[in-house]
Symmetry: C3
Subunit: 300 residues, 3 copies
């Protein structure tokens, strides 16, 4: 049995081996969210990945109602949120331009609002959502120190950062993760140095969109997706006819950087299936067969 | 009021917030250059950016005549020059091939010639003009040490270096700047790690061609330039109808790496206008609006 | 006279300035290989570059027969081999998928087999043949330590690694080289940071395919190869009508990273010619003329 929990870095938080993203939970009611949270906890998926902007600034609040309903839940889960994007939204009438803001004051006030919406006293992890060309690492580090000192955020990381952006901020404040897009269909970070950097610094990356495309579940005309889908289904026969999603999650988790996938589902059964994927141990041959099917050409 | 002076790095020189490039002064006579130098000094623009090769090896000499005429000028200005390119030129009949030379002997003799032409005893800053594939950092470092020890050059940097080239030379000799092309129309260095590296090392980059294209001042057919121009003119209305060049300079100076723009103008009034641009404080929204207009697609 | 030997790094092995690759020796008999090895030794080319997979897993064994025949040879040469690629081959019926394997057990057993095939008790240098997306630097380092401790391999390096992959593994175990493709026709590593990294770490890179293409020796229609070939022949007239291969090897060896070329020939006379190329000292002008002919556009 593979470990169900993972520590993001030497000084980082312990998370569940797979996280549940709330990105697509924006149309769910409190009861439905409650069901998903409890399905996660039961399956050992206790880490929930938020951002201030999800659901056009509504998802944190909807999730917070579940925590308010049952105050025993907070101790059983870990909460991740993000800040730094200013979205045009009816819920933020003061935003005039879709832009980024990584000023100290914006980071601090964004977190304070997330805490209020989520009905919690602390975040386990805060991420800068996108690399802001105007970010200054000293200013971000100041915001992080203040939030850490006040107990409002326990750990800090980034999302969608290139290696040089990560290095720049990490030189001022020790980051515990870089949350990036990784899947068999989006392999850039495997080869462009992003995951090399994580391994070198002994930091676990988090993967958003870990299945790459919803098309993977359907009879699609896209030749790349179809080729990958066929190969995954073939390999699944070696693994007790596991689901396509399970094989693709296992493919990510086999990477030596110990990629932590963030599920994009809002179905309790898929959360449970993902939890079971932790125990699927692909062989090296299977891993490379999936890589080659996805990229459409052999390795050198 | 924003600071009119800036220190390039912890141990680097103090320069004016904007520098005057002499690149295009090759057709000016001594009187005209004198006027430009004095216009600069009056406006607080005291840093003059040379290279041995400007004007096909003539600009340093023309500038030197102004310094000879009025020996009080040298103490009021900072002189930057560059070496390492061997240009085909009637003024260098021994050059048979357009090539680079970063040998110790070439660097030292090039500087000695620059000092003679400029009629000065020292350069404030010497840059390797282009990354030479044959450069050896130990040999360059030896040349820099010798020039520094003899008082002929106070500080050293590079121009047009990639992050790995900068890192290689900086591992042998502490550099104070990387002078690269940066403008709203040429944004590569903002995203490719060049400016991240400057921020990480607390080094101020210098920007050549900071307006990107002379077309920005005219009714152009180029859709990119036109889109940027329209946006800049719109934003200028929030800033006392500042000039297009002023807004574009302010856009560069807002970057957290504290980009030091090098003017390409030979008009005294534009030098004065640039000095006033230092006080224009663009909002984050305005900065992103200019970015998006220049790149032609929204930020993610 | 240029040095005939070179140390790969501060703690690395001393190799001949040019190495002989056995990649294309797969159709040679024992006598022919014996002739080549002795031609190398006579010319001072004593380093032989192997890989487990060369000749579909046959070249090491064929070379080993020569060493068995004459046990005095081993002390006169240095042996490089590689591991990590699993090729489909009648000689490896258990390989089902063309894949990579950098697990500790595969590295160790691959080396043990190489030693047996080569009829030697140690390798001077072992390289990971290709960057394996599933490699874990800690596991590779463990394998290296074990092989070093047992005396089976004296030094360790990599092949075809990007700078970030090199950095990742080098952070766990000190590498003495990165063997990559470099030639006038394949110049990526000169500009993408690979060679910058070698210089920064004072590590000698090894170059495979140093002539870039066999076409360089023939009247070809390829305009790039033809342009380069014409220029090389022209420059050869300044160097006692040296061969095309000699000028191209001298071009590589002039690079400040001290590139060590690996010959791809199986002709004794070309091995001798390559040894003589060590003494060809191209001027900077000649180096840049070859660069410009190869790239087809002037330097900036």
């Amino acid at each position: 049995m593979a470990a169900k929990r993972i520590q993001l870095s030497k000084t980082g938080p312990e998370f569940s081996r797979v996280a549940a993203g709330v990105w697509k939970w924006d149309n769910l009611n409190t009861q439905q969210i409650d069901t998903l949270v409890k399905a996660g906890i039961e399956s050992g998926i206790t880490t929930f990945d938020h951002a201030d902007i999800y659901g056009s600034y509504t998802c944190e609040e909807a999730f917070g109602k579940v925590l308010r309903q049952d105050s025993s839940l907070r101790d059983k889960i870990e909460l991740v949120s993000k800040c730094g994007i200013k979205l045009l939204s009816p819920n933020r009438p003061d935003h005039k331009v879709h832009s980024y803001d990584t000023s100290k004051s914006h980071i601090v006030s964004s977190v304070e609002n997330s805490l209020k919406m989520l009905e919690t006293e602390y975040l386990d992890l805060l991420l800068i959502h996108r690399p802001d060309p105007l970010m200054h690492p000293d200013e971000i580090a100041e915001a992080f120190y203040q939030l850490q000192k006040s107990g409002k955020v326990l750990h800090f990381g980034v999302s969608n950062f290139t290696p040089s952006q990560f290095e720049m901020l990490n030189s001022r404040f020790t980051l515990v993760t870089n949350q990036v897009e990784i899947s068999a269909l989006h392999r850039d970070t495997i080869f462009d140095g992003t995951l090399d950097q994580c391994i070198q610094h002994s930091i676990v990356p988090m993967a958003w969109s870990p299945l790459g495309s919803g098309q993977i579940f359907t009879e699609t005309d896209d030749p790349t997706v179809r080729r990958l889908r066929d190969k995954v289904i073939e390999i699944a026969t070696n693994h007790n006819n596991a689901g396509i999603d399970q094989i693709l999650l296992a493919w990510l988790m086999k990477h030596p950087s110990q990629i932590l996938p963030i599920l994009g589902t809002s179905k309790p059964e898929r959360i449970k299936a993902a939890a079971d994927a932790i125990d699927i141990d692909l062989s090296r041959d299977e891993w490379f067969e999936i890589l080659v099917a996805a990229q459409g050409h052999p390795i050198p």
